[in-house]
């Protein structure tokens, strides 16, 4: 059963339709709302939390109607925790004061101690927020949101305020804390790597609508639209022709929906393209020319020009070292996705 859900949610700012009919069910575990900046995902979060009123549609928690025609539950009555982008810690209160803020008098002290222990800050209760590092502030914000045992916690771009080196570490910590607390969480992010690594479910949002909901593996491996495929991870497009359950493109012949025929786009992820020297018998192989190589240490991205002049990228471990001008055998070596041709993207 969904912990938090919205249906037909709409919200405009002036002429801009920030949220344009969003359907979303947040189930137990961690759910990520992923989309490029300006797609309306933060507005969805603020609609769920009650900081914005929807123009249309409804918001439910369990079976309680939070917002809908004639109903609007104010934020303080929703039992929805919120972790803000820049944390929004109260600068005039101590860490313990911040965590205690949402609690009643009874058992407050114990609950604060419990939460500070959960986030690993038991010794820093008397500090002021500005005396903490970014990662510590993040954990205080989380502890504060969790203190009042909300049904669900919303996190708005929780790692964007942290520098890159800290981000991965804090992400692990946050996931561990959320799991330990056994709380349902919805994380808004524009970083696909963050969404895929953090969440049990990912909802991809574009221009005010949800494009696809699924597990991280589904989103990456079987994107519902060409746009999702391009937004979540890298992909190159090769034009092809579909007939009798197969699509033929420059690199290979791949299986496709039997009902599908005519022009088709084959989306190829770089890790599905492998390069080698010389021929190996049996399977289809194409000769290409290396035009560029980006070296990342743990792996490399090699840009190869095919005989047709089209380029594909190949991601592989950092060996062997390719050089621009090298002749290579190009082989399709992994799953691909086939879409009907689309004009945008």
């Amino acid at each position: 059963m969904s912990v938090l859900a919205c249906r037909g949610l709409r919200r405009s700012f002036g002429a801009v339709r920030a949220v344009d009919g969003v359907e979303l069910e947040v189930r137990e575990g961690i759910c990520a709302l992923l989309g490029p900046s300006g797609c309306g995902k933060t507005t969805v979060l603020r609609l769920l939390a009650g900081f914005e009123r929807p123009d249309a549609g409804e918001v439910r928690a369990d079976d309680r109607l939070l917002a809908g025609p004639g109903t609007f539950v104010v934020p303080e009555r929703r039992r929805i925790g919120m972790v803000f982008q820049e944390f929004a810690l109260f600068p005039h209160l101590t860490v313990a004061g911040n965590v205690a803020y949402g609690l009643g008098r009874r058992g407050r002290r114990e609950r604060v101690a419990e939460l500070l222990a959960l986030v690993g800050l038991q010794d820093l209760g008397e500090r002021r927020p500005h005396e903490l590092s970014g990662g510590q502030q993040q954990r205080v914000a989380l502890a504060r949101a969790l203190a009042a045992t909300p049904a669900v916690v919303l996190l708005d771009e929780p790692f964007s305020g942290l520098d890159a080196a800290l981000r991965v570490q804090v992400r692990h910590e946050v996931r561990a804390i959320l799991t330990a607390a056994g709380v349902t969480a919805l994380v808004v992010t524009h970083d696909q790597e963050e969404a895929l690594s953090l969440a049990d479910t990912v909802a991809v949002m574009r221009a005010g609508r949800i494009e696809q909901v699924g597990t991280p593996e589904e989103i990456y491996g079987r994107p519902a639209t060409r746009w999702v495929a391009g937004f979540v991870g890298e992909a190159d497009v090769l034009p092809g022709e579909a007939r009798d359950g197969w699509v033929r493109c420059e690199l290979a012949r791949v299986p496709a929906d039997p009902g599908f025929s005519g022009a088709a786009d084959v989306l190829v992820r770089p890790e599905s393209v492998s390069l080698s020297v010389g021929a190996r018998g049996g399977r289809e192989m194409i000769e290409g020319r290396v035009v560029e190589r980006e070296f990342f240490g743990h792996d490399q991205l090699v840009h190869v020009e095919l005989p047709s002049g089209r380029r594909v990228r190949s991601r592989s471990l950092s060996y062997p070292v390719w050089h621009p001008g090298d002749r290579v055998r190009v082989q399709l070596d992994g799953p691909v996705n086939v879409f009907a041709p689309e004009r945008d993207v």
Partner: protein
């Protein structure tokens, strides 16, 4: 996004509208009184006397502004862009004339250079010079107002010159422009907004100044309005002139708004990593020092010396300590009440402006800023009409005086409170809401403690400005309610310079506080 989509709470909006209405009500009433006699108004306004007044006032404002700009441009450049010896000291000394209210400046200049002043006394004996060129009239008013307002232009110019990214000038030089074309095409356009803002302050100050022009007997709007009000026969005539003066100040504000919009765009690079290279003055440093010294001498040295002279004479003679004490008590009482009321009124206005920007909030804030455009004489006159015709029983009460002071200085309280509120992120209040607090309790437990400093600063600013206010106090104070400002004014009018010394001393000490704060913060001053 954020709060923009929500509507302001009704109670808050009502409070804001109430404050806004209260600030514009007296002047609106004045306008209706005048409009009731539309034909008379036109006749008064188009009369030769009114047009002459207009020409005099606008002429004085233009002359003072031009002189302030002409003084400030070279001074700002010398302090910020050359190796002038003692730059930091000059920077402070040249800002200090702002501390001197125009009527105190006029008092000290008259006592020094006037027909019965010290200089005349010094020259009469040995040289037999019996008449100095008269200080009264246009020349004296122009000199006095220029000397005590030019820092309004100088300070923002300095601030801009200091923060100007030297890379811009270097880029222009690298593109083949010489030093003067670079100044003209790169530096000057960036100075224009600051120049415009400073010039606006000076011209508004001059237009609304009452103290200097009345003591120096220059018939500008404010002096004539006051006189025709005092003569009691022609209050509607005074009101007509007052509305004309308001139209002039509005025109100046409109003009400034236009130049600001047409001015330089927002900087693309923020701040400057390193200070600009300074021009070595070489032998030119002597005339430069002479210029700084001469201006400091007339605008600061002379008044301070005269004040010292009169204070010693006053203390040596018979000081009416009781009178001075009573006046000080009255000044502090009126200013403290005004500060408290203004701070309270500023809260709803500032909250609307900071948290619920929109057409309604803009209207409320605009009305609250009415005091910016209204000369003290006009506000006072409006309240006289309001208190004698609309609501009786308020005339010549402390309440009316406090109301005038609040209307005049509310903008300062709103500005400070708004800035403080803008520094408290609305996310903090939302965090409090998501943790179960109602809007009111979220405000009380989070925003209020964080913004308290700004509210208090606003109140302090109002207090420090209200304590030296002259024209409204002169017109509205209850009978016998002499303040420090009215003491200085009436003492100077009858030429008993000793009597003005002690009140002036107290007022200068009080005025020095906000300016020293401004200098400490290194920012340009507000009106």
């Amino acid at each position: 996004m954020g709060a923009a989509g929500r509507r302001a709470p009704l109670g808050l909006l009502a409070a804001g509208v109430l404050v806004a209405a209260a600030t514009v009500l007296p002047v609106a009433y004045l306008a209706t009184v005048v409009a009731g006699d539309g034909a008379d108004w036109l006749e008064t306004v188009l009369s030769g006397r009114a047009l002459e007044l207009l020409a005099r006032s606008v002429g004085l404002a233009a002359a003072v502004t031009a002189a302030a700009v002409a003084l400030s441009l070279p001074l700002a450049w010398l302090i910020e862009r050359t190796d002038l010896p003692g730059r930091r000291v000059w920077s402070v000394l040249l800002a200090l004339p702002l501390v001197i209210p125009s009527y105190i400046g006029a008092y000290l200049l008259i006592s020094a250079l006037g027909p019965r002043g010290e200089l005349q006394g010094l020259l009469e004996g040995p040289f037999g010079i019996e008449r100095l060129p008269s200080l009264y009239g246009f020349g004296g008013a122009w000199l006095t107002l220029t000397l005590f307002t030019f820092p309004y232009v100088l300070l923002p110019l300095q601030a801009v010159l200091r923060r100007l990214d030297p890379a811009l000038e270097e880029a222009a030089r690298g593109l083949g422009r010489g030093p003067w074309p670079t100044y003209r095409t790169v530096v000057l356009p960036q100075l224009l907004p600051a120049l415009g803002a400073g010039a606006l302050l000076v011209s508004l100050y001059t237009l609304s100044d009452f103290g200097a022009v009345s003591l120096l007997r220059f018939d500008s709007f404010t002096r004539v309005i006051y006189q025709s009000y005092r003569s009691s026969f022609d209050r509607v005539g005074a009101a007509s002139l007052a509305t004309l003066l308001v139209l002039v100040t509005l025109a100046v504000l409109w003009l400034e708004g236009r130049t600001r919009r047409a001015g330089a765009g927002a900087p693309t690079s923020r701040g400057s990593a390193r200070p600009p290279a300074r021009v070595a003055l070489g032998r030119w440093r002597w005339p430069a020092l002479g210029l700084c010294g001469a201006i400091t001498g007339v605008a600061l040295g002379l008044p301070v010396a005269m004040l010292a002279v009169w204070t010693t004479r006053a203390v040596a003679g018979e000081v009416q300590w009781g009178d001075v004490g009573a006046a000080a008590g009255h000044s502090l009482l009126a200013a403290a009440l005004a500060a408290a009321v203004a701070a309270a009124c500023a809260i709803p206005v500032a909250l609307l402006a900071a948290r619920w920007p929109g057409r309604a909030s803009r209207a409320v804030e605009g009305a609250a800023y009415a005091g910016h455009a209204l000369p003290g004489v006009v506000v006072a006159l409006a309240l006289v009409f309001f208190a004698t015709r609309a609501v009786t029983g308020l005339y010549q009460t402390l309440a009316t005086l406090v109301a005038a002071l609040v209307i005049l200085f509310l903008p300062q309280a709103v500005g400070a409170t708004r800035t403080a509120l803008l520094q408290v992120s609305p996310r903090l209040e939302e965090a409090a809401r998501s943790l179960g607090r109602s809007p009111l309790r979220a405000f009380a437990s989070v925003t209020a403690p964080l913004a308290r400093g700004g509210v208090l600063a606003g109140a302090a600013l109002v207090f420090l400005t209200a304590v030296k206010e002259l024209p409204a106090t002169l017109i509205l104070a209850p009978i016998g309610f002499d303040t420090l400002a009215t003491e200085v004014w009436s003492a100077t009018r009858i030429g008993s310079f000793e009597r003005g010394a002690l009140p002036s001393l107290v007022l200068l000490a009080v005025s020095a506080v906000p300016l020293s704060l401004l200098i400490a913060r290194d920012g340009a001053p507000r009106a």
